[in-house]
Amino acid sequence: STLCTVTATQARRVAIFGGTHGNEMSGVTLVNLWTKNGAEIQRKAVEAVPFITNPKAVEKCTRYVDTDLNRAFTPENLSAPGGNNLPYEVLRAQEINRIFGPKGSPEAYDVIFDLHNTTSNMGCTLILESSKDYFNLQMMNYIKKAMAPASCLVLLNEHPLLKYSTSRSVAKHPVGLEVGPQPQGVLRSNIFEAMRVILKHALDFIELFNEGVEFPPCTVEVFRVLERIDYPRDANGNIIAMVHPNLQDCDWEPLNPGDPMFQTFDGKTIHYQGSGTVYPTFINEAAYYEKQQAFITTRRETLVASAIKKA
């Protein structure tokens, strides 16, 4: 209820993850920078730990070595026996869970920021895993206001089937940072600086919260994940069409029934056949070809966050 102020414990232990995907360069670069000199991420009463989650993938400048680390934090994986026979990323997940978790326990880190890039034209995006995480909602509201008029949108993935077990899910308050467009393996200065600014505001918020500032109730506009749309494929599973030029780079813009969606390799248009207007995002993300995803659809929603204050 928005009438009550929710109290939360001080957010003292904060981690900043980079290189969860080894070729998403903003996070890798920022974490390496802050590991060498952490002055920029220091705040009163906050232990901010920069951490490279997938060092082998970073070294090879590849998304992952055996399996996607950002899907690996399932309960099965985290408790799997088998030692060195396990895929590299499963071992890493267990290690990360030991250091920053255990996931779901009182000892887990308070906040984890997981830094990602996308080839999609998503701009600055914050990824939220629960609509009831008022601490995160308040932080995201703070960040959006601090960055205005520059845009910073919130993607909510609470979908029971499409939600996945991320590295950040080890923490009590997981926050995904996704900034694009940037090709894999490439460091673009504007994208790098944008991510840096988001983190600066996020850490400012945590510092204010820890000092005892009460944040009044607020509303946050979010885009809630609805469904995943795959590329059209032939009987052998080969992709037979590309994202249509009208849809390419149009993340967060309305897609109406009948709008062009895909273009076959010989030039024919395939139209969106949904029942209503949706807001597509993650349009043409390189890493999602193998995950059978051309884009995801979302709907706009306004979430309400209770007031929060340090206990």
Partner: protein, 338 residues
């Protein structure tokens, strides 16, 4: 050389279009797959109607890298075509791409021999904002320069440049050097592992016009002379790096990012360090930057490359008649000296 004198050149009976030389440069991968599909359909029709088959070889150069959607498996295939690499000793432990380069040399070459295909067009993508580029070793191969000019005229809305790497025949290393004539068609910007419809379409249209030009040429069309602006590579510039770790310590400056082929003057910004300082271009000559922030070149120590531009005059050309053809059987390389 008189511009109105028409230079006769040997026919181009065999053309190869290659995609997937780098397995994650997807426009070429999908285009060659699509052309193979169309070719199968046309061949079925031609068999039924008893027509002469098209002599366009469609090749997917690096299937293993394509399957993994990576640039290469062991080593960069597009550096494996030097004479030395193609003809040197082959160990059991040879990298996959070395073995593959020999297969491709057998299929499209042998490089340097009369049996080599007449023209190789190797399809590439770049993360750099380069538009459509032809990349060739010669700035006086009239075939390649005429094809380029034809594309410029047929695709006036597509930014297009002719890039020249001054590498001798002995040192040439890329797949396109296997044919008697060859060039890479490089189109960007496109992230690796992604196919963008506008980039794919530009490549499809470009290849179509190239094949149309070859047919016109072989049919006896005279192509009038003129000029082409050629960008000749002068040097590369690497990122500033940490002396111990060799990690980069700066990114391409926002003023330079995406400004391929915009003249770079001495003192113009090149890089922005992570602590916010600007590193400037210290050369004395204004040059044209390209391959600005190409993903694959980080490991090659190249942040950007620089070129000089000059206007090259090209003569009118036409295909040799059968009479003119005979003395040229041995000396197909000599036309470049005219």
């Amino acid at each position: 050389m008189e511009v109105d004198q028409v230079v006769p050149l040997p026919r181009l009976p065999r053309v190869a279009v290659c995609g997937g030389t780098h397995g994650n440069e997807l426009s070429g991968v999908y285009l060659v797959r699509e052309l193979l599909k169309l070719q199968r359909e046309v061949m079925k029709k031609e068999q039924e109607e008893d027509l002469k088959p098209a002599s366009v070889l469609l090749v997917l150069s690096n299937p293993r890298a394509m399957q993994q959607c990576r640039r290469y498996v062991d080593t960069d295939l597009n550096r494996c075509f030097t004479h030395a690499t193609l003809n040197g000793p082959l160990s059991d432990m040879a990298p996959y791409e070395i073995i593959r380069s020999r297969e491709l040399n057998a299929l499209l070459g042998p490089k340097g021999s009369p049996a080599a295909v007449d023209l190789v067009c190797d399809l590439h993508n770049t993360t750099a904002n380069m538009g459509l580029c032809f990349i060739a070793y010669s700035d006086c191969d009239w075939i390649c320069l005429h094809i380029f000019r034809h594309l410029q005229r047929e695709m006036p809305d597509t930014p297009m440049r002719f890039l020249h790497f001054d590498v001798s025949n002995k040192e040439s290393y890329s797949l396109d050097s296997v044919g008697k004539h060859g060039f890479a068609m490089e189109i960007g910007p496109q992230p690796h592992g992604v196919v963008r419809s506008n980039i794919y379409t530009a490549m499809k249209v470009g290849v179509q016009h190239m094949l149309d030009w070859v047919r016109l040429f072989n049919s006896g069309n005279v192509f009038e002379g003129g000029f082409v602006d050629v960008f000749t590579m002068v040097k590369h510039i690497d990122y500033p790096r940490d002396s111990e770790t060799r990690n980069i310590t700066a990114a391409i400056h926002p003023c330079l990012q995406d400004r391929d082929f915009c003249l770079l003057h001495p003192e113009d910004p090149l890089f922005q360090t992570f602590s916010g300082e600007t590193v400037r271009y210290k050369g004395t000559e204004p040059l044209y930057p390209f391959f600005i922030n190409e993903c694959a070149y980080y490991e090659k120590g190249i942040a950007l490359s620089l070129a000089r531009k000059r206007r090259v005059t090209i003569p009118a050309i036409r295909v040799q008649t059968e009479q003119e053809q005979q003395p040229n059987e041995q000396g197909f390389a000599s036309e470049e000296e005219e």
